[in-house]
């Protein structure tokens, strides 16, 4: 029963997407959005039902193959479903956000020529994402992994006539491919060790793998498992945009705003985090892999947050905040507090989607104006948007009581109590990160909504309902979702059937009784105060004395430049690596192929033969006495040969 339902969850958006894609153009907008929205709604309802059921009857959890994809000798690769708490909750999150975005897009994409294309893409994306989270084996994981990548490729480049857009989506795909390569290699390594791609088999053989070695050279070797985990995490770095593979995410803002909300904030980018949680049985076995994860995560959390401070594109600011939040989640995974990271993933999904959609509604209201320097004082004009984005911001910085507060605090607790290598470093990173987060978030809020209202924004008003509704719908969970869920999800054994992690005591050194108590306990920690101080500084900088930031920028010019240039990563990738490889290809082609092989060897031989033939035909002078001479020489050579032979024999 449940199995059929889950298959339905998977298939319905696919069908919706296909219908929209093929018939959308002819049948018109209403058909398109109805079919897609209803399909997504259906899968949302079903997945909520599934979640509900397995919460009540945990024995219904199942891991079943749909069909055998490939069978070679003893190896078999399957397509299958693994439905447990982790999957179910992810399904709910994904489908809910996707539903919101669908509804939102009705308004946002209203007069876009590619309307039906857009809807079919996002439905297909939903399908891909679902197949990623519902996978019960690496093959399907990889399939979903790449499929979401492709959908994001198509959606970033949705406005394909914009040079910047197609540049961004190309970049995004290639960088994701780098991650995917690592993921594939990790999968291959696991396969070569365990002989299967099914989660269950691989995980069960984890301990056995653990003490195997992978020989880099005859005498130099590493633990195969650690290598595998790091390779897998390499994949996560690509998808979840961790340093140094993060550069694609800010550029991906070239896509329509709903996409930024759906793919580049809520769902796809969290695939990496989800994968880490999924692979917890393996990661838990390798201390060093965990600390690698931890270090990468904390670096990302802090550095990308700083970048958010100097951006003027409303969406880019949020994008950088997404990056840093992803860093938080990875950090949590690094200290093996997977539940916390997943919890943060969930809350973040809600409030970040909210923030993006709010930004989107601002953009729509201002007729696709994205530069915050041209905004200001919009709170009177856009009350709903203002409130909702305020809620989102508060949730983001982890203001007490908001969902973000619980998740972030639990996460930081975990880091504090961690004993993994480099946990102190991580701890300071996340603490500073909290400050930075609130600073840039409120900078954005203040600049956009407070201050003087520029006159050309005078007649701005709230966009239509389909845009505003999702904001309201999303702000509800952004505030409250954590209250009931934090206990079971983070501290209790909600994920115990899908994730291997230490007990909450070991993790947080704190006995959870109820959310309120957790709140009060959290207030004893530094986090909240750091966050509030961040707000204060932001108030000072952007309301009281708006000139300070510029002063700072001038005083710390090099640092400012470094931030503006995003640590020169783009420069490195585009102007050095890309250039290098294309020029390498060029020279290989010109020198290797054309000059050497073709001209020198192939045509060279031809020329040689031709010249030989020209030399040889000089024999045919046309003079009879030459011919006669040739004949005579021929004869005399023979005779001479005979005689010499004879002499040779004689002597």
């Amino acid at each position: 029963m449940l199995y059929q339902l889950s298959v339905l969850v998977l298939v319905v958006p696919l069908i919706g997407g296909i219908l929209a894609g093929f018939l959308g153009k002819t049948t018109g907008k209403t058909f398109t959005n109805t079919v897609t929205i209803f399909s997504v709604l259906a899968s949302f309802l079903i997945s909520s039902y599934i979640l509900y059921t397995i919460l009540n009857q945990p024995d219904l959890i199942f891991n079943q193959n749909i069909y055998r994809w490939l069978e070679i000798g003893s190896y078999s690769f399957n397509i299958g479903l693994l439905i447990d708490n982790l999957t179910a909750s992810m399904m709910v999150v994904v489908t809910f956000i996707s539903l919101m975005v669908h509804i939102y897009s009705i308004g946002y994409m209203h007069d876009d020529p590619g309307y039906h294309r857009f809807f079919s893409y996002i439905s297909l994306f939903t399908f891909a994402m679902l197949s990623l989270v519902m996978a019960n084996n690496f093959l399907q994981l990889f399939f979903g992994w790449e499929a979401v990548g492709v959908m994001s490729y198509l959606l970033i480049g949705f406005w394909f006539t914009k040079e910047s857009a197609i540049k961004a989506n190309f970049k995004a795909f290639i960088i994701n491919r780098v991650g995917d390569m690592f993921l594939l290699l990790g999968i291959a390594l696991l396969f070569s060790l365990s002989g299967s791609l099914d989660y269950s088999t691989v995980f069960s053989s984890g301990p056995m793998i653990n003490n195997q070695l992978f020989f880099i050279t005859e005498n130099l070797s590493v633990s195969a498992l650690t290598l595998a985990c790091i390779l897998l995490f390499g994949g996560a770095m690509g998808k979840s945009a961790q340093m140094p593979l993060h550069v694609w995410l800010p550029d991906s803002m070239e896509g329509p705003t709903p996409i930024s909300a759906l793919i580049h904030a809520a769902t796809m980018v969290t695939a990496g985090v989800f994968m880490l949680a999924r692979m917890s049985p393996l990661f838990e076995l390798s201390e060093s892999a965990l600390s690698f994860v931890l270090i990468i995560g904390s670096i990302t959390a802090i550095t990308t947050g700083l970048l958010g401070l100097v951006q003027f594109d409303i969406k880019r600011v949020i994008a950088y905040s997404t990056l840093s939040q992803l860093g938080y989640m990875v950090v949590a995974a690094g200290v093996s507090a997977y539940s916390a990271s997943l919890f943060h993933l969930m809350t973040h999904a809600f409030f970040k989607a909210l923030l993006f959609l709010a930004a989107g509604s601002v953009i729509v209201a201002l007729h696709h104006e994205q530069d915050i320097r041209n905004m200001g004082g919009l709170r009177k004009r856009l009350p709903v948007t203002y409130t909702t984005s305020l809620i989102g911001t508060l949730a983001l910085i982890g203001f007490p009581g908001f969902s973000g507060f619980f998740s972030k605090d639990a996460l930081i607790e975990a880091v504090a109590h961690s004993t993994v290598y480099a946990h102190e470093f991580a701890y300071y990173c996340v603490l500073i990160g909290v400050f930075v987060t609130s600073l840039y978030s409120f900078r954005l809020l203040f600049i956009v909504f407070h201050g003087p209202l520029s006159e050309h924004n005078n007649n701005v008003q709230e966009p239509q309902l389909s845009i505003v509704l999702p904001l309201i719908l999303l702000s509800i969970p952004s505030v409250f979702v954590a209250w009931p869920t934090v206990g079971p999800m983070v501290f209790d054994s909600f994920f115990s059937n899908s994730i291997v992690q230490p007990t909450s005591i070991e993790l947080f050194g704190y006995e959870f009784t109820d959310s309120l108590h957790f709140l009060t306990h959290a207030l004893s920690g530094p986090v909240t105060y750091i966050a509030i101080s961040g707000i204060g500084v932001a108030y000072l900088f952007y309301i009281k004395q708006p000139e300070i930031p510029n002063k700072l920028a001038l005083t710390f010019k090099p640092i400012y430049k470094l931030l503006r240039e995003k640590y020169y990563f783009d420069y490195l990738y585009e102007n050095i690596l890309a250039k290098f490889f294309s020029s390498l290809g060029n020279s290989l082609w010109n020198l290797g192929d054309i000059k050497f092989i073709d001209n020198y060897i192939v045509n060279g031989t031809a020329r040689k033969i031709e010249s030989l033939s020209n030399k040889a035909q000089l024999l045919q002078s046309g003079y009879i006495y030459h011919y006669a001479l040739m004949m005579m020489l021929g004869l005399s050579v023979f005779l001479g040969w005979v005689i010499i032979n004879k002499i040779g024999m004689a002597s």
Binding site: T161, E163, I174, L185, A188, N586
Partner: protein, 496 residues
């Protein structure tokens, strides 16, 4: 019997069409289309009759041919040849169908050449007698030579002569090897060669002799340079058949001759072969990035993809110190799938380029841009094919590369990692082309005038897209077809 018909029906039709002459090319178009579809039907019927649970040859047909040298007209089909035959008979109708997109002079000869090619290619894949194999193998050069030379581009003569001499030079060494094996075994039956007791150094020599022929066809670096020229100059149909089927003959030869006849030889030379494959995958991939001509780009990508075939054929030799049948199975199956899927994908890509070329008469990437705004349907398919070429999961392109990489990793992590670079490089050159050709602002007025695919084009491209998708979503049936035969091959390789 039926195999016989699959071979000779197209060839006889070709003769008839030539006899019909230029006046009745309309009629000959109809005839050849009908026949080629009929032949495809026949081969599907073979598929239906084919028994995948047995490893040996089926539909065997044997009659005396040249008594003096104990040569027989000896045909048979096994799991390795059947998929390739299906590929051939599937693509030929498409090529013939799309022959009408542009007006050609001497259309009848064009069609005849393709029918001739089809028959000969099926002959190559179904010959059980080495001599017969060689006859088909060489005879193929003639129609291809004409196709490139008569209906090709500006520089066609250079290209086609280069193609001919390159391949001819390669295959004569194979002839010597075949004769040598005959003198040893007293028969030209390929399967008799498998049982010959050969010293390792003899095996190496024989392997090299065969390699000359197959490496040129596949083509492997450094004997690949005929391919880009041939592709660029060939008419669309020519490129399609060239990339989709002719290249596969090389891989087929490796599986049919080199590996089972000289296992120790292959074992000894495996490092060389693997190196060449990796060079093909990486070096050629990088070269592909540098291309400005779409056909050249796809040609180089073909070489790079065929690198996976050769890798799959040899990588298992370096696993540990003992051969592991499981890995051999995995790798060779991977190589086979890679061949089939590359056949479909490259065919599709060349057809798509043909679609654009017929409209704008240029293959330069820089002359294009923003195709999608005027040809949305076509652009969708083109992007799909491009992604398939970049080995996107869910398309057939992924299956082969996945299996080969898995097998490679079992053998050696570094070779696997190097070959996995194709994920990046392949995506880079394919999507780089897509970015500049399909997307972006409309480049010039001509592109504004373009009209989307007509019925011919959409049907043929659609068929290809469908088959690529199906193979990608559910490759199991294909594997089940080959599994037994490949098991047998594995036995020969392991020498048990």
């Amino acid at each position: 019997m039926i195999v016989d018909q699959i071979i000779w029906l197209p060839i006889l039709t070709a003769l008839i069409i030539v006899a019909l002459g230029e006046k009745r090319s309309e009629l000959s178009y109809k005839i050849s289309l009908f026949i080629s579809i009929l032949v495809f039907g026949l081969s599907v019927y073979v598929l239906y009759l084919f028994d995948p649970t047995t490893s040996g040859f089926q539909f065997v047909l044997k009659t005396q041919w040249i008594e003096r040298f104990n040569i027989n007209y000896h045909l048979g089909i096994d799991g390795i040849s059947l998929p390739l035959i299906l590929l051939t008979t599937f693509l030929t109708p498409i090529v013939i169908y799309t022959a009408k997109t542009t007006s050609k002079n001497k259309l009848h000869q064009y069609l005849a050449s393709f029918l001739l090619l089809e028959g000969l290619m099926v002959g190559v894949f179904s010959a059980m007698d080495a001599f017969l194999f060689y006859v088909f193998w060489e005879a193929m050069l003639i129609p291809m030579f004409l196709i490139i030379g008569v209906w090709g581009g500006k520089n066609r003569i250079y290209a086609t002569v280069k193609f001919f001499l390159y391949t001819f030079l390669g295959s004569v060494f194979m002839l010597i090897a075949i004769i040598y094996l005959y003198l040893k075994s007293g028969s030209y039956l390929i399967t008799d060669f498998y049982y010959l007791p050969l010293q390792v150094n003899q095996q190496i020599v024989i392997f090299m002799a065969f390699l000359f022929a197959f490496a040129v066809k596949i083509p492997m670096w450094p004997v690949h340079t005929w391919l880009p020229d041939a592709h660029v100059e060939a008419p669309t149909g020519g490129s399609v058949i060239l990339a989709a089927v002719l290249l596969k003959m090389g891989g087929y030869g490796l599986l049919r001759f080199s590996l089972p006849i000289s296992p120790e030889g292959s074992m000894t030379l495996a490092p060389l072969m693997i190196t060449l494959s990796l060079i093909a995958i990486i070096y050629i991939g990088l070269v592909a990035i540098a291309q400005t001509d779409m056909k050249k780009l796809i040609a180089y990508s073909s070489i790079s993809h065929m690198g996976f075939v050769t890798l799959g054929c040899f990588v298992f030799f370096i696993e540990g110190n003992a051969l592991n049948p499981a890995t051999i199975n995995l790798a060779i199956n991977g190589a086979m799938i890679q061949m089939i899927s590359h056949g479909l994908i490259s065919a599709a890509l060349f057809l798509s380029i043909g679609v654009m070329y017929d409209r704008l008469h240029t293959r330069e990437i820089n002359d294009y841009g923003g195709i999608v705004t005027t040809m949305p349907k076509f652009a969708t398919l083109m992007v799909f094919f491009a992604l398939a070429n970049a080995a996107l999961p869910g398309t057939s392109g992924f299956v082969g590369e996945l299996t080969v990489i898995l097998a490679a990793f079992k053998a050696n992590g570094f070779i696997a990692s190097l070959s996995a670079l194709t994920l990046i490089i392949g995506a880079a050159y394919t999507l780089w082309m897509i970015k500049r050709v399909i997307f972006g602002p409309v480049k010039n007025e001509k592109i504004n005038q373009l009209n989307d695919m007509n019925k011919l084009e959409s049907i043929s491209l659609g068929l290809l897209a469908l088959s690529i998708l199906i193979l990608g979503v559910w490759p199991k049936p294909l594997i089940d077809l080959m599994n037994e035969s490949i098991n047998l091959l594995t036995l020969f390789i392991t020498g048990t």
